[in-house]
C-alpha cells in the first residue's frame, strides 16, 4: 500500500505501469465502447443484458462528457496535443477538460509547468487555441 500513498496525479505520480500505458480521452473511449456495443447488438438480441454494469455506466459517462463527437476531430485532437511533448496522462486531461485559459490549463494539469519542459505561457496558449479551433470546426 505504500505506493498507493504516494500517488498524485498533479505531479504525474501515477505509477510506472500507468505512466507508460496508453491513456484514452473520453471521446476515444466513447468510440471504442460504442463500436463494441454495436458488435454485441449484431450477435445478440438483448445487448444491454450482455454487458456489465461497469460497461453500461462507462458508456453513459463518456457519451455525456465527450467534447468531440466525430472520429476525425478526435484524431486531430490527439495529433495536435502530441506535438507539445506532453505525457499521455496530461494530454488526456487537457483533451477531456478543454480548458479555455492558460491559468485554467495550469490549474488542471499542474505538472505541465514542472519537469523543466519548455512550456511557457505562450506555448500553452497556442495549444489551447489549436484545440478550440477543432471544436469550432467540428
Amino acid at each position: 500500500m505504500s505506493g498507493e500513498e504516494e500517488e498524485n496525479a498533479a505531479e504525474l505520480k501515477i505509477g510506472d505501469e500507468f505512466l507508460k500505458a496508453k491513456c484514452l480521452m473520453n471521446c476515444e473511449v466513447s468510440l471504442i465502447l460504442e463500436h463494441k456495443y454495436e458488435q454485441l447488438q449484431q450477435t445478440s438480441e438483448d445487448p444491454m443484458n450482455q454487458v456489465s454494469q461497469v460497461f453500461e455506466k462507462s458508456l453513459q459517462y463518456v457519451k455525456r462528457f465527450s467534447r468531440y463527437k466525430n472520429p476525425d476531430a478526435v484524431r486531430q485532437v490527439r495529433e495536435i496535443l502530441s506535438r507539445y511533448q506532453l505525457a499521455e496522462f496530461e494530454l488526456c486531461v487537457l483533451g477531456n477538460l478543454c480548458p479555455e485559459t492558460v491559468e485554467e490549463a495550469i490549474a488542471m494539469v499542474p505538472s505541465i509547468k514542472t519537469r523543466g519542459r519548455a512550456h511557457d505561457d505562450e506555448a500553452i496558449e497556442k495549444m489551447l487555441n489549436d484545440l478550440s479551433l477543432i471544436k469550432r470546426f467540428e
Binding site: E4, E7, N8, A9, A10, E11, K13, I14, E17, F18, A21, K22, C23, L24, M25, N26, E28, V29, I32, L33, K36, V51, S52, Q53, V54, F55, K57, S58, Y61, V62, R64, F65, F89, C92, V93, N96, L97, P99, E103, E104, A107, M108
Partner: protein
C-alpha cells in the same frame, strides 16, 4: 482516467470446450470473467478490446482442465488522487453530495464545497450560493478533484473536492 493496457490472466478451460472453437470459447470466457471486475491496482476493467497472445495450454494433473496464459488488451478506468475530472451528481444531502464518473462513485463532503454554498432541503435538495446564481443538485455536472481513494474488493470509492480554482458546476440541468 481511462487507459488502454495489456493484462495477463491464466484461464482454466473445461475439456468440453476443446475443439475447433477453442480460441473463441477462451476469448468469450475471458470477457465474461474479467469485464466489470475491479482491482485496486488496475481499476475497473470496462471492456476487452483485443487478444495479444495466447500461450501454450498446460494440462493440470488430476483434472482435465487446461490452463492457458492469455495476454489481452483492455480499457480500464482507474481514478487517481489529484486527478481532475468531470462527473454528474447522483445524490445530494446535508453531509455533501455523491457524483459518478463512469463506474466510480465520488463523495464530496460539505467541508469540501465552497463556504458560500449552503444546503437547501426540499424535494430537490441542493447546494446554492447566497445569490442563487450557482446551484448543485441531482444531475448537475461538476468538475472536481479527487483527493482520496479507498479500494475494497469489488469497488473503488473516491473522495473529491470542489473547493479549488476552476472547480465546481459546469452545467446546471435547470438552466440548460
Amino acid at each position: 482516467m481511462f487507459f488502454h493496457i495489456v493484462l495477463e490472466r491464466n484461464m482454466q478451460l473445461h475439456p468440453r470446450y476443446f475443439g475447433r472453437n477453442l480460441r473463441d470459447n477462451l476469448v468469450s470466457k475471458l470477457m465474461k470473467d474479467v469485464e466489470g471486475t475491479c482491482s485496486g491496482r488496475h481499476g475497473f476493467v470496462v471492456a476487452v478490446t483485443g487478444i495479444e497472445h495466447i500461450g501454450k495450454g498446460l494440462i493440470r494433473d488430476g483434472t482435465g482442465f487446461v490452463t492457458f496464459p492469455i495476454k489481452y488488451q483492455c480499457v480500464v478506468f482507474r481514478p487517481f488522487k489529484g486527478e481532475i475530472l468531470e462527473a454528474f451528481v447522483t445524490m445530494v444531502n446535508k453531509m455533501g453530495f455523491f457524483a459518478e464518473a463512469g463506474p466510480v462513485q465520488i463523495f464530496v463532503s460539505n467541508h469540501l464545497i465552497p463556504d458560500d454554498m449552503e444546503f437547501q432541503s426540499g424535494d430537490m435538495p441542493n447546494y446554492t450560493t447566497s445569490d442563487g446564481s450557482v446551484k448543485i443538485q441531482k444531475d448537475s455536472e461538476v468538475r472536481l478533484k479527487i483527493i482520496g481513494t479507498r479500494v475494497d474488493a469489488t469497488e473503488i470509492f473516491c473522495i473529491g473536492t470542489i473547493k479549488d480554482d476552476f472547480l465546481g458546476v459546469i452545467n446546471d440541468p435547470t438552466t440548460a
